[in-house]
Amino acid sequence: MTTEAMPLASNKALQRKLIVFACFLVTALTLIPVVMMILVAFQSDAESMAAKPSFWPSSWHPENLTRAFDLVPLGKYLLNTVYFAAGTTILETVTAALAAYAFARLNFPGRSWLFGIYLATLMIPSQVTLIPQFVLVAKLHGIDTWPGMILPHAFTAIGVFLLRQFFLGIPRDYEEAARLDGANRWQAFVRVIVPLAVPAIATLAVFKFIGQWNNLLWPLVISNSDATRTASVGLQVFQDTNGTQWNLLLMAATVTTIPLIVLFFLTQRWFVRGITMSGLGGR
């Protein structure tokens, strides 16, 4: 551990430094597009639209923020996105948790075949249901309405599947104990199962919220006015009406992305833990 270990140790230290350097380099490269989005958002009109793009703004124009909001009802679009994402997330999480509890813990005739049908639909791409869902919503006069936007995307098998997996892992004894205390099924679910499953439920909710905040196809098809238009669709309108006024467009893109990034950083502990606990990472 004295003379012979010395060169080995310094070799290790060098190796370690290289690894750290590589990590930082890759991270920096990865962040370039996000940094560019923010930098260009603050450039002047002329600079952002010049034939030879510049990266660092030669002058800063924070008023681009208010200009972006003036050109397009961006605030309304963002609020709509919150309604859409929150509405689908809340409905999905609550109904999936209830159903998953029954599939995991209660015996009833037809349980296995019903769950089989749920599982079978996991592989169906959303494009298969897109056209029938659109037809259904149109027939019910749901185009451009909140129920028409939210309901078709609020009930998926994946939530039921994930939560059932988690509920199966909660020891039955916990619930038995509550039962001996005189709790009924509902009370056992609310007071014992749900509190234990908070990480799994939160993971499902974060995944769902991010997915719907990102969703372009469904809002593009079902929303055709500012009443329900979401931010991802709204950004496109931006491009159509203003050509490529890059500074304002990328300012709008920044504003649309930041809430999601903030939410993501606040919840990523849950998210990472959820991935680990669901056994997806192997064990």
């Binding site: 690894i19 590589a22 990590c23 991270t27 990865t30 962040l31 370039i32 597009p33 996000v34 560019m36 034939a51 209830l98 159903a99 029954a102 209660l106 009833f108 019903l114 749920y118 639909t121 592989m123 169906i124 494009q127 298969v128 897109l130 056209i131 029938p132 869902q133 037809v135 259904l136 149109a138 609020a154 009930f155 998926t156 892992g169 039955r172 104990a177 509902w186 679910f189 234990l196 372009l216 196809l217 098809v221 991802s232 467009l249 893109a253 649309t256 992305t257 999601l260 993501f264 950083f265 990523q268 990472v272 991935i275 680990t276 606990m277 056994g279 997806l280 990472g281 192997g282 064990r283």
Partner: protein, 314 residues
Amino acid sequence: MAVDTAPAVTTPAPSQQSLKPTPRWRSREALTAWLFILPSLIGFLIFTAGPVVAAGVISLLNWNLFSAPTWAGLHNFARLGPDPTFWSALGNTAYFTLVSVPLTILVSLALALLLNQGVRRVAVLRSLLLLPYATITVAVAFVWIWLYIPHDGLVNAVLGWFGINGPEWLISDNWAMPALILMSVWKSFGFGMVVFLAGLQAIPQQLYEAGRVDGTSPWNSFRHITLPMLSPALFFVIVTSVIGSFQVFDQALIMTNGGPGTRTTTLVMYIYRTGFENYDQGYAAAQSLVLFAFIVVITAGQFLFQRRLVHYDN
């Protein structure tokens, strides 16, 4: 399964006998179960199961949404054969999948391995590397258009430093698809990276120590310890990436609008165009069912493959 919250119950563990449900619970159990399932089931039947069946029916109709549908039989499926746009969309989707999935897996695995080397502040780097995953596809698609601006965009400016004359990315027949793929890999590698990191951190260190005692080389310990132990995570990321890349839409719509020509028209974009621009709902439904069939075949293939290669530790 780690449950680190203490249960909020004070009664002692129930005896063997009490594990049997009391008659009152059992008699009401089926009814209770249906009440729990009902909210999900109603939504599921109306908005998932029903529409799947309806897609089958609509694919057999000529229908533009506005006038009464007429029976078409299998005509919509027969139209697929001589439709060059459909085949080009299928080819583009396959190209996208075959290149983007292996690339995404390689990048996320390499980064997970790097971060797992015990770099301090892994959490900070991991969060930053996850940033692209947490951005809106549509928003960052616009940034990438800007980065890909011919001649003086950032991508070509950097290539210029190395004396490379970069192509006109998004309007080039040969480079539009690679440009979309590069952006998509950037957008999605973070998810795989997190799954792999979770997997790597779950591998027992004793395995490596045993290997070290035996004088195993780093490459061999990667091949014989890391890869087998990581195979469930690999399998999961591959299956979800393949399904996701078959459905690629947002970035293609924004960055190239399917062009030049139909070079970047993906299957989903073609379904969208057929259904909501040409109002040919029957034909669009037929296309979506073919896409579904491809996904089923490929996923089934992966599951067959999995039996041979994925190692489950139980």
